[in-house]
Amino acid sequence: MARVGVFICDCGVNIASTVDVPKVVEYAMTLQKVAIAKEYKYMCSDPGQNLILDTIKEYKLDRIVVSSCSPRMHELTFRICVNKGKINPYYFEMANIREQCSWVHQKDKEAATKKAMKLTEIAVAKVLRNEPLFPLYSPVIKRALVIGGGIAGIQASLDLGDAGHETVIVERESSIGGRMSQLDKTFPTLDCSQCILSPKMVAVAQNKNIKIYTYAEVEEVQGYVGNFTVKIRKKARYVDMVKCTGCGVCTQKCPAKTSSEFNEKTGDRKAIYTPFPQAVPNVPVIDKNNCIYFLKGKCKVCEKFCPSNAIIYNQEDEVVEEKFGAIVVATGIDIYDHSNYGEYGYGKYKNVLSGLQFERMVSSSGPTDGHILRPSDQEEPKDVVFIQCVGARDPSKGQDYCARVCCMWTAKQAILLKEHLPNSRAYIFYIDIRAFGKGYEEFVRRAQVDYQVTYLRGRVSRIYEKGKKLRVLGTDTLAGGQVEIDADMVILADAMVPKYDSVKVAQTLGIPYDTYRFFTELHPKLAPVETVTSGIFLAGACSGPKDIPDTVAQAGAAAAKVCALFSKDNIEIEPTIAQVNFSLCSGCETCKLVCPFNAIEMREREIRRGVKRSIANVIESVCRGCGTCVGSCYCKAIDLRGFRDKQIMAELEAVCIE
């Protein structure tokens, strides 16, 4: 005889202020097989859980329903609690009366109360049809894959490598280093970015636990936590990684030039190149689209001059398949395309630059060797205007979010300008200054006071060329007037946007992304590096704009999560998987066909004495419990534990029958 206990949570006032909880308790008591219903202020708290445990004992309960928040929040908490009370954790159901009831029906308390009763009734109906389930175990492959070799990927790999775990970095470009390697100095300490990054890049290359695949991309991911199978495409670089010594003669001699992506198109590079001098690995690649030999069939200058015969023109892409137990996604960001702002003339006027272009200009390894020069005529600029929030906090451009780094980044660039050209004047147009990090506010004050940077509160409306100058029409809302500046150069702060192919990456990995296309964390506060797919973790700006300190911290956190996972030899996997009723299966193979994970195999089985038939069989360690097979089975021979037909039907009846 089933004895159900129902526990209804007030969640402080979150539920109780909208839903009349005592009424729900009263209603629950009238439900079939309900032995007791109780209310408590915070069911998830220790006293709340103790209340459940005590009640289980007192009323000899064997099934539990908790009506509170979303199961996505506390299902696990209560399952553990129920288990402590010696009840199988799957004899438990939750009714979501907060996220899907009290919070969305605040204006109609009566309807909310009625709905809360119904939702509780549905959960009771289901729990009565539940069955005990026992966890399955699966071995953990203790190898980690890190996608992206920027500062996030580098840090995560170092932490994993140091912990003794074999780690593979897959980087799309020909060198690791990422966005940070493009920066000149970093705020608020003004450390040289390359100087603090390069040692880490070298450390990665030297760590015996870390393997780097540069110029490579992840193509396919199969499997589940502890056991992922990943296909990696190593793009042909046309240079033998082993033979090449990195002497650079090929690059020197190459006659083909094109604009350098690393320098944000402010300078040139060759067709055979390393993106920057400190590249790791220091092996060049041939850019097929600009190489004269690949375009016209003649040239081969690099081959001629290479002292170690490392050039291989007929090299082909190679796809390797490797196994991993966990994946850290550190794919980073792109920069907002400022040409969407027609009024600022980016792309039309030479002297309107993006923040990253200015960064390359200030960098001593950049195209101007660190001299700040007006691109139109190579003169030193006198008046430089910086504009913040370009491509950020701007719903009209679909960019509602704050760029998060551009306040500090711009302050830093203004300081760098004043350090390079002390007689120049710097103007910054801002809407709000967000200097919340350690030492950030002090840094902005330094820009304002020590470096005499003029801060103007307002957005710029328009920029146009007037003679050699750029006329900037802005406003200072604090002084209450329009502002006109004839500037030599205008720098538009950069907003971070998701990588152009972030959706494709998300779909390959099976992780969700938000409306901007950034990857979504499992929980924005409490699980910031986890994703809904266990075994896949996020690091750095791929989940939203981040500065370097936050990125490094997150990378460390992701690595720690992987280490925790790798500390076990076997991990529990959800037992809510498919199951075949052998006597009903006709062997039509539909389930095998639709299964996204190839978890169904056909097997000869004796169904009656002497009668053998080929019928479906679920491979338990592979099935992930989506239920697609169940939805498509013609004979109702396959069912999903935890979401069986009879359970859903019971829920349906509870919904429909008043």
Binding site: Y341, G342, E343, G345, K348, Y464, E465, K466
Partner: protein, 289 residues
């Protein structure tokens, strides 16, 4: 190609030459313009500042005919174009407004008429290639500043045919006619038409800024596609020169006049003699007349 033609008040008074040159050019390009019978004023700016419903109902009144005849509408005046298209859009988007407007009109207006500005008709529907074929006399040596004004490119939901900032379609037309296009910054600034009679001093400043920029960028003349822009830049140019103690002497053409000129039309027929700032000296110095 057949269009319902909405000339607007100005083309029947201060801008008769725009009307004449439009009819000439459209005739040559095979565009049939049928004037909307008994059209009334679009309401212009004063009405949308005083009566929100009438500002939609008046244009809708004119569009009713196009709706029955199932014709797209061509409007040569930017203000008329803007009001007509906005009325159409708002009625299409807003059921309640549609009900109110239809009640005021006594007929149901659906908000499904296609409305084009005259340059759009000529440049998009006919195409610059066709125009180039019809050019008899290239306007070589003429440096033209194309002036778009405000309502030809704004607001974005109404003017959808070129980029909002730094539009190019009139500049491209200039190149097709064999003339030089001037790259200038004030091509979309406002001339102040609305205040022409009520706040003249403001208008003179705005007009001066525009003329000044065109003059600084070494334009010979200005090309417009709106009778209100024309009346400020041409009619008030002498006044501006007097007030700001400058000398511009920049003739202001309608784009249809310049197309007509390149097709070899007679300057009197194009109404070039009706301008306040005489164009004849400039045109003869370039050997165009």
């Amino acid at each position: 190609m057949k269009f319902a033609y909405f000339p607007g008040c100005s083309l029947h008074s201060t801008a008769k030459e725009y009307d004449a040159s439009t009819k000439f050019v459209c005739g040559r390009l095979g565009i049939e313009l049928v004037e909307i019978p008994n059209w009334v004023c679009c309401g212009a700016t004063p009405i949308h500042r005083t009566n929100a419903l009438a500002s939609i109902a008046l244009p809708a009144k004119n569009l009713l005919w196009a709706q029955t005849e199932n014709l797209p509408v061509a409007a040569p005046c930017s203000e008329c174009f803007s009001r007509l298209k906005l009325a159409n859009l708002e009625v299409a988007e807003n059921e309640e407004l549609k009900k109110n407007v239809s009640e005021v009109l006594g007929e149901t207006y659906e908000g499904n008429v296609d409305i084009y500005h005259l340059p759009q008709v000529i440049i998009e529907k006919i195409g610059l290639k066709e125009i180039e074929k019809k050019v008899a006399k290239k306007l070589s040596g003429l440096k033209i500043a194309s002036y778009y004004g405000c309502l030809l490119t704004r607001p974005p939901k109404v003017a959808t045919f070129d980029r909002i900032e730094d539009p190019q379609f009139l500049d491209n037309l200039v190149l097709s006619l064999g003339a030089e296009s001037v790259n200038w910054a004030y091509k979309t600034e406002c001339c102040g038409a609305t205040f022409s009679l009520s706040k003249k001093e403001l208008v003179l400043k705005l007009t001066n800024d525009i003329l000044q920029n065109a003059y600084d960028e070494k334009a010979d003349c200005i090309m417009v596609a709106c009778p209100l822009c024309h009346s400020n830049l041409d009619l008030r140019q002498k006044e501006v020169e007097k007030k700001y103690k400058v000398k511009y002497n920049l003739p202001v053409f309608y784009f249809t006049q310049l197309i007509g000129l390149s097709m070899g039309a007679d300057i009197r027929g194009l109404g070039l003699k009706r301008h306040m700032v005489s164009a004849e000296k400039l045109l003869s110095s370039k050997g165009l007349i």
